[in-house]
Structures are given as C-alpha cells and as structure tokens.
C-alpha cells in the first residue's frame, strides 16, 4: 500500500560496522519506499565512513542506522562524529538490537545513544510503520513544507 507521507524524502538505510543482519533493513527499506520515500539502501556491513559519504552525496533528509549484533556502541560514535565533521545534519535514527546482553535495561541503552547524538533510539521489534510515522512528524517539526498536513496522514 503505497502512500505519499514521505514523498520526495531521501533516506539512507544500512546495517553498521560488522553487522550482517539483513532482514530488518530490508523491511525498513520496503516500508519507507511504500511511504513514498527515496531509499538509498546501503545493505549490511556498512562502515561509518560509508554512511557519512552517502548522507552527504545523496543529500539525505534522514539516516536510518540499524545494528543487531550488539556492536552498535562500537561503531556509532564514529558515524556521529563523521556527520558533524562533514557538516551534515540529517535526522538520525538508530534501531535494531543495541545492547549486548539480554540483561541490559533498555533505559540505559536509550540514554546512551541519545547522548551520542541520535534523534531517536528504537528498541528491538519496532514496527517499520512506527518509524515512518515518527519521520513524518520530525520532518514537519523541522519545517519540511513538502510534507502533507497532519490531517492527511494515512499510514
């Protein structure tokens, strides 16, 4: 069901670092495309530098970083630093499975990535539609005039 909530919005998607989990980013890409976005799918094992390069050259409105293998904490700081250095300021989300142990409290994890500089930090099993809704809202908040009004949202 293709809608146009994210018409003309450019989103970079990929799994960071040594992460090889592909299913989540595949579904995310689909959902974003179904919502009308232009998706730049970087796939698995994407280095922080590759993310930065794509964000800059593709003039991305948003960057979706996925990490499932527990190593987000190792690679994400370089990504955030890289974007800052490049003067890029896309909306920056991270999700997947961000801590190593099943025993780590979620609040601690969210806190850590929020402090790192991510605009939103998603717990495991976040539905793609959730991210689409959030992105639309954040873009509106940033004043992206292209986006349809709140009332016309139909995700």
């Amino acid at each position: 069901m293709v809608t146009s909530v994210l018409r003309r919005i450019r989103v970079v998607v990929g799994s960071i670092g040594d992460d090889i989990h592909v299913v989540g980013i595949t579904l995310l890409g689909h959902a974003l495309r179904n919502a009308g976005a232009d998706v730049i799918q970087l796939g698995i094992q994407t280095s922080p530098a590759e993310f930065v390069a794509a964000a800059v050259t593709e003039d991305a409105d948003a960057v979706f970083v996925s990490s499932s293998n527990g190593h987000a904490g190792i690679f994400c700081p370089d990504l955030v630093a890289g974007l800052r250095e490049a003067g890029a300021d896309p909306i920056l989300y991270v999700g997947g499975n961000l801590s190593v142990s099943a025993a780590t409290p979620w609040d601690e994890v969210r806190e850590r990535f929020a402090r790192m500089g991510f605009d939103r930090v998603y717990p495991p099993r976040t539905l793609p539609d959730q991210a689409v809704r959030d992105l639309a809202a954040d873009l509106r908040a940033r004043g992206s005039s292209d986006l349809p009004e709140q009332g016309s949202q139909n995700v």
Partner: protein
Amino acid sequence: MSDQVSNEMLDLDELRAQRASVFHRQLSREPYDLDEAWDFARSNAERCGMAATLARAKSTGDTVAIPRAGVAHWDAQLELMRTLSAAGAGVVPITVDSLTRSLKFEDAAKALAQSTPDRSVLNGYPLLAHGVERTRELISSVDRPVIVRANAIDLRLVAETAFASGATGFVSGPMYATLEYSKLGSLEVSIPNWQYIFRLMGEYAAHGVPIVEDAIGFAQSGTCSVPSLMHVGVVLDALIMAGQGVKHIVPYQMLQGHVAQDVAGCLAVGTLTDEYLAKLGFGDVRTYVASSDWNGAFPSRQPDAYGLLAANVLACAIARTPVNYVKTIEEGIGVPTAAANAASIRFTRYLTHLISRQAASLISPEVQFELELNLMEARAILDAVLDMGDGDPVRGSISALAVGVLDIPFSPNVHVRGNVLPVRDADGAVRFLDRGALPLPAAALRIEAERLASRRARSGSGELSYQDVIDDLSFLEFEEPTLPEGGDPHS
C-alpha cells in the same frame, strides 16, 4: 594449487606458504608451530574430542545438545562453559565475537579491555586477543569437547588459533559464510580461504587430531527456505571440505517449525551428504546430522520461545539426529544469560529424552512425502551444479551462482541473484513461490504448486505475493490470544 579455483587438494607446500603469508599480514608474526600444536591437540582430543562424542551418539541413537555461547571476558567464558556442561551440553561452544571475525583483532582487544566478567562489550569471545595459551587453559578447564563458532569469509587465523588451542569442532564453510554472511565477498575469493582451513584440518586429522566441521550450507538465516535448497548448500560445502581432507562432517538442518517437513529434512540431508560424498570418492568421511533450532526471529516472550523450541526439539527427536544445536528462550531478546542458556539445554534434553524413545511411532506418511520431494529437488539442483563444473563442485558452484542455477532468497550478498522466493503453505511447510532459475523437475514443481493451492485459496486475491513472503516472517510469532469468542483479552 592450480590457478583456477577448484576442488583439488591444496598442495602442502602451498599451504605452508599461505600460512606464512597470512600470519605475517594479519598478525605480523610467524605461523604457529604445528608439531607443537599437534602434540597438545592430540592429547586434548583424546581427553575430550568432539568426533568421538558424536560417533558414540550416532551409534547409540542419542542426541548431543550443543548450545551457542560466547562472552568477552575469560573468567565469564569459563563460568559459562561450565554452567552449560552441567546443564547437559554434550559439547560446549566458544562463539567468537564479530570484530574478530572481521579481522579487527586490535579493536576486539580494546573492547575486551573494556569488558568485565559481568559486562561484555563484545558479542563473543575475542579468540585472537586471548590467544593460544589462555584458550588452551580455558579448553583444558572444561570436561566437554569444545567447538569454536564463527562465520566470515576469512577465518584462517581464527581456525589456526582454535585448532592450536584444542578446539575439536569448527563451524561453517564457504556457502554459508559467503552467501548468507557477507555483502561483497565472492565464492572465488572465499573458497580458497576456506580450503586453507579445511586443508589444515586435514593435516590435524592426519596427525591424530580429528576435527569436526559443520556444513551449514544455505541454512537460510533470518527467513525460511525450502529444505531441498538448503541441502544443496550443505552438500556443496561438504564436498569442498572433503576435497581438502576433512573426515568428520556435520550436515545441518535448520528447523523451521513445520515438524513433518523438518523431520524429513533431517533425514534427507544425511542421505544426500553421504550419497554425494560417496559419488565423488569421499566414502571414508563420517557424517553426523545436526538439527538446528530455527535461525530466524524468535518470539520475545519466554513461554512462546519455549513453545518454538518445543516444536524444534520434536523434529530433532523424531528424526533422532545425533546432534542438536540449541538456541535459547532469550534468543529474541539479546545474548542470553548463562541461566537462560542452561535452562534451554535442560528443556531440550528433557523433551528429547521423552520423545526420542517413541520416535518410530511418530513418523507419519507426510514425513515420507516430504522426504521424497526433498531428495528429488536437491538431486536435480546438485546434479546441474556439478555438471556445470564438469564434476567439480567448486567450479560448479561458482558458475551456477552466476547464472542462478544456484540461488537463494534474502541473501545480503551482492553476487546472489535473489530471484528465488520461499513461502509457507497453509500448514506452514515451506514451498517455492518463485523458483527463479533453479533447475527443478516438472514433477516437483507440480507438487509445490499443489501444496500452495491451499494457502492461495485462503488469500483474498487468490494469488500469493511478496507480501505473503513478508507475512511469513512472523509465522512463528503468536501475538494475541485468538480466543474462540474473540474480544480483547487484556481488558
């Protein structure tokens, strides 16, 4: 070594040269002294060797339960292995972290330094950072054979270190590690890396240290796949292993929650591996089939996860596989606590014990049906692949992959066509929705289509689509109580 990659056995001198170069490049040091390593490994294997454990299980009809487990800190890893041994694991694992797998040995060492026994910054045991001495100590401190678990296109130093440290089992091979686990790697590049490892295992075997190697093949991970296609990958991996002198191979069957199809898969993959090994002249290789718990997304609720494990154990117990790779009730959450891992082993062993003695009484006609379908499809693809390599499985695989005669769904690898789509039928058995260019016999295609008709009938449009494939990702989730009377159960 011939210049073109093939299944020919690597020349011993060539292996020596490669060892020197890879140690030098990746670790700036001389290769391990093999004579010294064999001495240690031999007495260690005699004390506690995986091949002997599996051979005993195969002959008595038992099932060896093997967990997955790895944490960064040495003390925590030992504690973990001991806990799992006490819970009934027949072989205990050292899962290697993924920084090490990507050859970032120094980054892994840094992350190790930040880890404590209570908190692991890594998703596994940084094998190179710990090194041979410490890992020998670790392996010597447990009363079970140890398998080192890792997947990547270049694990030569991981394997070197594992074997020298006393691991008597290792995981994976080129098909799985390349096509399911890597974005850019090609078989041309990865097969030689793996052949190095297999050749090394062959040398260990020749010097009295039998090492078991898991052939995972296309154990489609993350989504479901048609069993016959998974078997093709297993058999190809096994042939490449045998080509370098590996003598103990574990053909893998990933369980998918449809019990009859899963049982048939366990039986089929053993039959096929033995059949093609013999056909290519590797009749002396011993095989031990492993069932492996569902490799895709797990439900996060603990009782649901127990339920999923139950369906898997059932298939394993009915098929009486000598090995069972066990996931945990926290798989859907994160790297499991030792307690959750132990509970999962314990559960698996209890249920296996109860069901395996009644296995014969639970073989249904449907198992036989799935088995025959499996064999028919897998043989057709395998024969076509081997034909394309003039009988050589390495050349065959490379050529077949290029034209889609080998193809798998949902691969993260850029060299895979990805035209194949699997979908579950109304009962949950996995069928081909799109076979891409796989050379399936007409009879098989007819059966596949018939079996899908039931689901087609249920779906609104009468046609199945990519959306059904996506829906299948949550086949093993059961979100809401679907009570007969409906209504909101949480009110």
